[in-house]
């Protein structure tokens, strides 16, 4: 059965490529820092299950030390210059989009095939991993297509991959690190504390105020945890179920669905949701690392107001 292990072997190999590409880039004064950083990630993907919990913890501290001491840099070597890219773009035309579309297309067709044919029952792919397996398959097909069609130097995928990875730098590991922080928060009982805190300030008898505190609680707690999934069970147990549903008689489906969506407004406003907010800023090479969060705040606040109105009117007045 194809499971996470297969993907970790593939990802480890790609990160080994990033390490190799970084080490070869003489235009990066800190190239050995970058190479060490991506080598640690390769180690994690390939051997993480054999290192033990404390061993993995030490690996995490090593990653943090490299990033925290400013040992990561970026090269300035151009693989092709603007003029060459323009010429290639004219020569290959719109066909250049095809390999880029192979990855989403594989995800699309693969998801449909998996869900609507006997493939699911065949047990070839672990259902939990199907999205990532399709991503991996798409990447391999797209890469082979590019190599056969464009005939780049064989080192080119390694060079180009590490060019982009080093542009992203430490931000690429931040989402995984925040997930680990979530594990610590859970073990230290942070969620229970926040739930108790929220429940202790809730006023009884005023439905609108209770709705407001529920929605704001979802937003704030989501901003702290970086995702609404950690916040929802806590806020539902503290306010949503005992007060809004049991005491005030609200519609459970509205409170559940729109409560979660209020949390998503918080996701738009926090750097803790790194894969959505910090990573794109790095990917797009924005000057301000909070540039994406900043433009999302107005949408998030307006939508939060809309959610509070939906919670109140659809939850209690319909």
């Amino acid at each position: 059965m194809i499971n996470y292990q297969w993907l970790y072997v593939l990802a480890g190999a790609v990160f080994a490529g990033f390490a190799l590409g970084s080490a070869r880039d003489r235009s990066n004064l800190k190239r050995w820092g970058n190479a060490a950083f991506w080598t640690l990630m390769t180690t994690s993907f390939w051997f993480g299950d054999f290192l033990g919990d404390v061993g993995n913890g030490v690996l995490v501290l090593a990653l943090v030390a490299i990033a925290g001491l400013g040992l990561l840099g970026r090269g300035s070597a151009e693989t092709t210059n603007a003029g060459q890219r323009q010429a290639f773009s004219e020569r290959y035309g719109n066909r250049l989009f095809l390999p880029a579309l192979i990855i989403p297309f594989t995800a699309f067709v693969g998801t449909l095939l998996f869900n609507y044919t006997p493939l699911k029952a065949a047990g070839l792919i672990d259902p939990k991993t199907v999205t990532l397996v399709l991503l991996g398959a798409g990447v391999i097909i797209a890469l082979l297509t590019c190599v056969v069609w464009l005939k780049p130097p064989l080192i080119a995928p390694v060079e180009e991959g590490s060019r982009l990875m080093n542009a992203i730098g430490w931000a690429g590991v931040l989402p995984q690190m925040l997930a680990a922080l979530g594990a610590i928060f859970a073990a230290a009982g942070v969620g229970t504390t926040i739930g108790a805190l929220a429940a202790s300030i809730i006023p009884h008898g005023n439905v609108f105020l209770a709705v407001l505190l529920f929605a704001l609680g979802m937003v704030v707690f989501t901003m702290i945890m970086g995702n609404a999934f950690g916040a929802f069970p806590v806020m539902a147990a503290a306010i949503g179920i005992p007060i809004l549903i049991h005491a005030d008689g609200g519609n459970p489906a509205v409170i559940g669905a729109v409560g979660m969506l209020s949390g998503f407004c918080g996701t738009l406003m926090t750097p803790m949701a790194a894969n959505f907010n910090m990573v794109p800023a790095a990917l797009l090479e924005l000057k301000d690392q909070y540039g994406v969060v900043r433009v999302q705040v107005p949408t998030a606040l307006a939508l939060l107001a809309a959610n509070i109105a939906i919670l109140y009117f659809a939850g209690f007045r319909l």
Partner: protein, 223 residues
């Protein structure tokens, strides 16, 4: 009596991010402080951190797309994306992003959340297209305006994903709501929940779409 000390870790994260220390460092320090204040011995904290990191490796798998994207950029993909927009009459950054917003919401509502994304579509296609359209409206963009347009492209992807995916009944967040409610004896079907994601999805389209039209006005004015 509630023990508030572990919350100090949260305060450290907020302060550390605000002062722009390296986020990896901030998160690691906050994790260790939170664990110690939660009465865990240091080695236990290190173990929980390491275990959490190892269990969540799948989060970082997405970066395997970079060699493909980088290779295509080497052969002029971003230039091509810009050229397509330059040839398209009536294309503006706002209109382009509104179409993308609708597309992203609809495919996410069909459960196809990973068809698009920041690495797969925004960096190689959507952001360069939006910048090219903005250049048609505005002329040459200064760095600040170009960054604003790119940030809007990334934001549009997030809004479309977040406020589309919950309409699909088999998405993780719907199952989590159902599970949390069931543990308190409230039984809901995924369908009941996903229906109530629709009003918010419509509001999201209207609100963010309006902001994108305002972006067009802002870009057009400078001409």
């Amino acid at each position: 009596m509630i023990d508030y000390w572990p919350l100090l870790g949260i305060a450290l994260v907020v302060v550390g991010f605000a002062l722009r220390f390296n986020p990896l460092l901030v998160v690691a320090v906050a994790a260790i402080v939170t664990g110690l204040l939660g009465h865990m011995p240091f080695l236990k904290v290190l173990g929980v951190l390491g275990h959490g990191f190892n269990e969540n490796r799948y989060v970082s798998i997405i970066w395997i797309v970079l060699p493909v994207i980088g290779l295509l950029e080497r052969y002029g993909l971003q230039e091509r994306a810009r050229a397509v927009i330059a040839d398209m009459r009536g294309a503006t950054a706002g209109r382009l992003l509104i179409v993308y917003l609708g597309f992203r919401q609809i495919i996410s509502a069909l459960g196809l959340t990973s068809v698009a994304g920041q690495a797969q579509t925004v960096r190689p296609l959507v952001a360069p297209m939006a910048v090219a359209a903005a250049e048609k409206q505005h002329g040459e963009l200064d760095e600040k305006t170009a960054d604003h347009v790119k940030a809007m492209a990334a934001a549009t992807d997030n809004v479309g994903l977040f406020f589309g995916e919950d309409i699909f009944i088999a998405i993780a967040s719907i199952l989590l709501i159902q599970g949390s409610m069931a543990s308190f004896g409230i039984h809901l079907t995924p369908f009941q929940l996903s229906v109530w994601a629709i009003p918010t999805a419509i509001c999201a389209f209207v609100i963010h779409g309006t902001r994108l039209l305002l972006l067009d006005r802002r870009l057009g004015r400078a001409r």
